[in-house]
Amino acid sequence: MKLFNSSSFVKLSIMASKPQQLRPLAGTSRAKRERTITSNSSVSESAESNPMKDAFAKYANYLNDLNDKRERVVKASRDVTMNSKKVIFQVHRIGKQNKDEVLEKAEKDLAVVRDQYVSRLAKELQGTDFWRLRQAYSPGVQEYIEAVTLFNFCKAGTLLDLDGVNAALRPLSNPSMEPLQINIIDYVLGLADLTGELMRLAIGRISDGEVDFAKKICTFVREIYRELTLLAPVMYDSSDMKTKMDTMLQSLMKIEKACFSVHVRGSEYIPPLGSADARFPLLGEDDIER
């Protein structure tokens, strides 16, 4: 504090001559103020510090509890992210022959994520905390959405809607608690991420010869992108939706380009070699059947 005072002393000493001149003029109003304010403060000075300290002790407790809870939620969310990623990788291991087997394992892994990790969130997010701590759990929940919808698409070929996701979460919480229900914002943001995974899946399937599956993914992603262009402008809660839309279009165009080149090359390439061509066996059969 001495440092502050000495450094600014020169500057302020110039100004300080003014109050001296004003002093006689302001004498009356000063006397009046002394009566109104200093009398108040003299009463409160002794009693004042205690209520403030007490109140701030309360605020400190409140903030500590909130921060602890936020920290727990962030940790739980990170676990959900990590394990959901594992499920996604498992789904990517899908091939022509091992489909059922891979999906069965993915389903088991998904159940573990749900029962062990997502359930931890349910306990923390009762009442208003659900929206208050959204920032803290959002990444994990989005990754979970990505995993469930990717799994569901590979299994059923459809989009698992929000009610479907939430129905699976309902048995997690005990009856005394409100069940954890994923909010619409995170669901839509999760869908936006899903298209990136579907892109990887489509490219993988094409190089494995499952062109029809890739085309199905293409239609699916195309439609999700189209629908999300309508949703993005009404998503006020999220600023990152716009960048996600750009990424999504990039992924979609990659799938489309891959489908395109397989069409073009396929149609040119296969007839001279016949259906015995090893590189695109399915494509060859498929096209001839039609």
Binding site: Y59, N67, D129, M235
Partner: protein
């Protein structure tokens, strides 16, 4: 899309079979079709090499049949999401409308409160500023009513009235301090705005940020009070601000906006200390003894 799809077979028919496939596609790729139009053609072209032209036309219909169930189902699923998001958007617009009214009320209140720097009788200034409180209560009641429609979603829309509320707290606490010389506590602020904490309370962090804003007002007030001849003011403000700063140090803050505001409070404290020092060193303060004591504490 349909025009192009219908045209494609005719174009293909006019090209010799051997050059039919690849050149055509590359032609489309180079032409000015958008990627969407171009992709719309793909299914047709895809079938062309292996099917007769008649079945190719059928093939186009087939593609539609094949894709429409998924597309339709997805459309329905997203329709539901959109209507939900739009509802929440409408609610948000209503909240924003109220929040903007709160904002303009705070402007009025702030401008009438700024008169204290003119060294006009403080009680008149305070009375004028306090006239707006009734209006604020009504507006907050409106907000609470809107939030009542979606219980537990207070924090979903919290951002829409946050900054306005912080300003409200800063004004209310400044008025309260001018009147009583004490800090407006969280519960008192809630009571002043007629809020029911179980339903629509005042967020503690908003309250604390509002208090920091109030602290920003104090140095200017002290400077002008001294200029107007109130030499007791610096001591009083310094004591209050030191207590407040000490109280804030009890909090464990995260690296967020509140932390930033709290870090700024020490500069308010410093400016008030400087004014106090200037007044004291010239012996302007009448209450020399108590001022001296305060001063020693200030230097330590």
């Amino acid at each position: 899309m349909t025009i192009i799809s219908i045209l494609v077979p005719h174009i293909i028919r006019s090209i010799p079979l051997s050059t039919r496939r690849f050149p055509l596609l590359s032609h489309f790729a180079k032409s000015r079709l958008t990627k969407f139009q171009f992709l719309a053609i793909l299914p047709v072209c895809y079938h062309s090499p292996y099917t007769s032209f008649k079945s190719m036309a059928d093939g186009e219909g087939e593609m539609h049949m094949q894709h429409s169930p998924t597309v339709e189902k997805l459309e329905m699923q997203f329709e539901e999401l959109r209507s939900q998001l739009e509802d929440s958007g409408k609610l948000r617009e209503r909240i924003r409308a109220v929040a903007m009214e709160i904002e303009s009320t705070t402007w009025l209140m702030h401008s009438s409160l700024l008169l204290i720097h003119h060294s006009i009788s403080i009680s008149d200034v305070i009375e004028k500023a306090k006239q707006q409180i009734g209006g604020l209560r009504e507006l907050y009641n409106k907000l609470a009513e809107i939030i009542r429609e979606c219980p537990d979603q207070y924090y979903r829309y919290h951002g829409d009235w946050r900054t306005e509320t912080q300003t409200v707290v800063s004004l209310l606490s400044f008025i309260h301090w001018l009147e009583t010389g004490t800090l407006l506590l969280h519960t008192e602020a809630e009571a002043k705005l007629g809020l029911n904490p179980t339903e629509f309370g005042l967020d503690v962090e908003d309250y604390l940020i509002g208090i920091c804003f109030m602290s920003n007002e104090l140095p200017r007030y002290v400077v002008n009070q001294v200029t107007a001849g109130d030499y007791e003011c610096p001591r009083k403000v310094l004591k209050f601000l030191k207590d407040l700063h000490a109280a804030f140090r009890m909090l464990n803050l995260r690296n967020d906006f509140l932390r930033k505001k709290f870090d700024g409070m020490k500069y308010d404290l410093r400016r008030v200390e400087e004014v106090f020092y200037d007044v004291k060193i010239r012996g302007l303060a009448t209450n020399g003894e108590s001022a001296g004591k305060e001063g020693d504490q200030g230097q330590s």
